[in-house]
């Protein structure tokens, strides 16, 4: 190991050679194999994609202020929600936490110098950027009007839009997901430092490991499904279109066999982030560590067996409905365990409410509401009226935006000092977190009511009796939009003007806090000390207390 002695816990005014200064110049970034730099490349890319998807959402919400559609034609509206869905799902939510925080932190948390395959990691980013730019170009120049779900036979035989091109873009991007998952699995197995046993791993690492399994197993099915769409659209091979002898439900089975696990690709990392932040600011170990691990793995495994709950009214057999329903209830159990354990972690802690904690608590609350509305959708009898209405929109936005985006931003704030070496304005960060929680509920709670009343999703125009609730939702959306823009400003300011961050500003446990902020290129200048996970009852290594 390197002989340089670093005193952890004491702020260094100018970290001697952080990974930022290691090799400067554009090529130093574009040809880097450093997981930390690749993480930052991903962060910049997905932030751009997030705001593009957000503009589409804003256009939809403005349109829905008037029952007949205030802004867009039906055709443009259809292309706008497709744009929003495709970009947000594949180019923001799926890579969000794994490709950014996961890439940066996984090696640091297990005491490794890098991921197992650094070149592959860079290749994943290039695939992601190529797939992303290509897809977005196709979505903007001409567009696609099928929705992100590409249901057949509409997508294969009826839609006159860029279906094939976008499918190619998503196909390419899928490989970036698969390769990242592969990289994380091998890294977790092979590169843990001595003493870092499986049950000492932080839950964030467990979350990354679980999500990687899902990525590697589910994404190839998406690739196959998109290829079959291409085959039918171009060569008219009858796979999904009954006019050619195909079966349209087959597409839905294949699509959701990928896309339901994809939901867990989005939420498992968020659970990992919350499981880091809450113990840190409650100053005690996570409640029921092992149960939390089993719950993560349980969700990842059972997540593969519940895809049929998207198809309760699609014309599936009653037997299939029964099986998918009971499995969907079963997968809610580990999710419930997690909510109870996060809450129990607060008990008898020494709780403080810095911005990351506010985001994490917001995550728990919104995830819980989203999850419980999922229970109603898991009951086939209730799914009949609720399916494909705004109730479903509200449900998955609570989980994916209220859940994943809150946790992602919580993680960005929590590890920001470590990643950038700078501090941000705590007051502004708290304000943004609270505003986001408020704006989010304001936007999406009315949509639960709309859905219960029967307003269908993907409607460019709607009956006038739904207008009041739609205006409420659109008003909330403008607050939500502001709350997403505020962090861009104060985090951007922090990047250039923020105070230097100490190595461990939160007094957190975990190996990543034992190195400098920002870390050197090789991650650790001195060998970090492995403790049990969340050793908040023990003194931090290197301190006297």
């Amino acid at each position: 190991m390197n002989a340089t002695v670093v005193t952890p816990g004491l702020p260094e005014l100018e970290p001697p050679r952080s990974f930022y200064t290691h090799r400067s110049g554009l090529l130093g970034w574009l040809l880097t194999r450093d997981h930390k730099r690749i993480a930052i490349l991903y962060t910049i890319t997905i932030t751009l994609f997030f705001f593009m998807g957000g503009v589409a959402a804003a256009m939809m919400r403005i349109n829905l202020v008037e029952p007949q559609g205030a802004l867009l034609s039906a055709e443009t509206y259809n292309k706008t929600f497709t744009f929003h869905g495709v970009v947000m799902v594949w180019f923001f939510l799926i890579p969000s936490i794994p490709a950014t925080l996961g890439n940066f932190l996984l090696p640091l948390m297990i005491g490794a110098r890098d991921l197992a395959f650094p070149r592959l990691n860079l290749a994943s980013w290039y695939l992601f950027v190529i797939g992303g730019c290509f897809t977005i170009a196709c979505l903007l120049l001409g567009g696609v009007d099928t929705g992100w779900t590409f249901y057949t036979p509409f997508s294969t035989m009826f839609s006159n839009s860029n279906v094939i091109l976008v499918a190619v873009g998503v196909f390419v991007t899928g490989f970036s997901t698969i390769l990242t998952g592969l990289n994380f699995i091998v890294t977790t197995h092979k590169l843990r430092m001595p003493g870092m046993t499986w049950f000492k791993l932080p839950l964030f690492v467990w979350g990354m490991y679980a999500v990687s399994l899902v990525m590697v197993l589910a994404t190839p099915v998406l690739a196959m499904t998109l290829s079959l769409i291409g085959l039918e659209r171009i060569a008219h091979v009858g796979i999904f279109d009954p006019a050619l002898g195909g079966d349209p439900l087959l597409f839905q089975h294949l699509f959701w066999f990928y896309s339901h696990p994809a939901v867990y690709i989005m939420i498992l990392p968020a659970m990992g982030v919350a499981s880091e932040i809450i113990p840190c600011f409650a100053r005690r170990g996570i409640f029921g560590y092992r149960f939390m691990v089993y719950a993560l793995i349980g969700i990842a495994v059972v997540g593969f067996l519940v895809w049929g709950h998207h198809m309760f009214v699609a014309g599936m057999s009653a037997t299939a409905t029964l099986v998918f329903s009971i499995l969907s209830f079963i997968i809610a159990v580990p999710s419930a365990i997690k909510v109870f354990n996060w809450t129990a972690t607060l008990r008898r802690g020494r709780i403080s409410f810095e911005a990351p904690m506010l985001y994490a608590l917001g995550f728990v609350g919104l995830f819980m509401i989203g999850g419980m509305s999922g229970l109603m959708l898991a009951a086939p009898a209730l799914d009949i009226p609720l399916h494909a209405t705004y109730f479903v929109i509200a449900h998955f936005h609570y989980v994916m935006v209220g859940g994943t985006v809150m946790a992602y931003l919580g993680g960005i704030h929590y590890w920001w000092p470590k990643i950038t070496g700078r501090l941000y304005s705590e007051a502004w960060a708290r304000f943004a977190a609270i505003l986001m929680f408020f704006g989010f509920n304001f936007t999406f709670f009315p949509q639960y009511v709309l859905g219960y009343l029967g307003m269908p999703r993907r409607y460019h125009a709607y009956p006038p009796e739904f207008q009041t609730l739609n205006i409420l939702s659109s008003t909330g959306a403008s607050i939500l939009a502001i709350s997403y823009l505020i962090p861009v400003i104060y985090l951007g300011w922090s990047l250039f003007r923020g105070a230097r961050a100490p190595d461990n500003p939160w007094g957190a446990r975990g190996l990543e806090w034992q190195t400098t902020s920002p870390p050197p290129k090789q991650n650790f200048l001195a060998r970090p000390v492995v403790q049990k996970a969340y050793a908040y009852d023990e003194p931090a290594p290197g301190t006297q207390a």
Partner: protein, 320 residues
Amino acid sequence: MSASGFLHLLPNASTNARPLDMLWWTMVGLCAIVAIGVFVVMFVFCIRYRKGRPADRQLLQDTLPVELTWTAVPFLIFMGVFVWSLTLYARSRTPPPNAETIYVVAKQWMWKVQHPTGQREIDTLHVPLGVPIRLTMTSQDVIHSFFVPAFRVKQDVLPDRYTQLWFTATETGDYRLYCTQYCGLDHSKMGGEVIVMAPRAYARWLDRNATGTSLAAQGAALFRAKGCSGCHGANASVHAPDLDGVYGRIVHLSDGSTVVADDRYIHDSIMLPDKQIVAGYAPIMPSFSGDLTESQVLAIIAYLKSTRPGTQPAHEGTKQ
């Protein structure tokens, strides 16, 4: 305006609605109790155990019993809800035997309705109060979905098959009908109304809109006009299965399997004749998929149904 102020927008207009609302409001209540419970506990912990406040901070040593409890309790509640939901679901899948069938054909972007007595309508569906109605639905192009919130019924409508839903309306009035499976450009305009009428008013409506020929009679005319009777008729010289009373029978196929001659089977035999070949016959039937619309196929099915002899035809064809 409070959320409850909106609830008048969702009438209870079918026998389905009330039991479903029971389950719905029970679930809402349960979720509210859990959510409020968790929020209160969180809030109390956050106040009582905030940094700097003196409090007992001795940690629980054995957490297993607590964790098993909050694993088992939600599991049992979920299973209870599952069983309750399943009984309602089973009911929604089984129309009563005396249900009247109305046919629905969906296409981009309209609903075409065919009454067995020959009346046709577009984007409206007239039904009598208190009579169980079974809709047999198919699509001419992409997937659509038939949704009437006031009845709490919804069913996707697929191009390759017949799907069904049923309801018994309990309140007269006009109720919104939506397409809830995204189907292209004018998806949001693909709506209409279900008009529930008192039986006498309904009878008058049927009379006013009578076409003179029932759906089965229209089918019989098509059966001759399209040349079906040339091969399948009693005096045909071509070796083709006799279709008199075929509906509901068990048919033996050339690959050794058997099927019940239901709507789907007859539809596919007309549109995709190579799919299932009746045992003992040559695969010489041409496909009519370019020649007949889905509405015409429904008329032919109605005609074949009407040729069923007697009251118990379902097992007549069974031999072994």
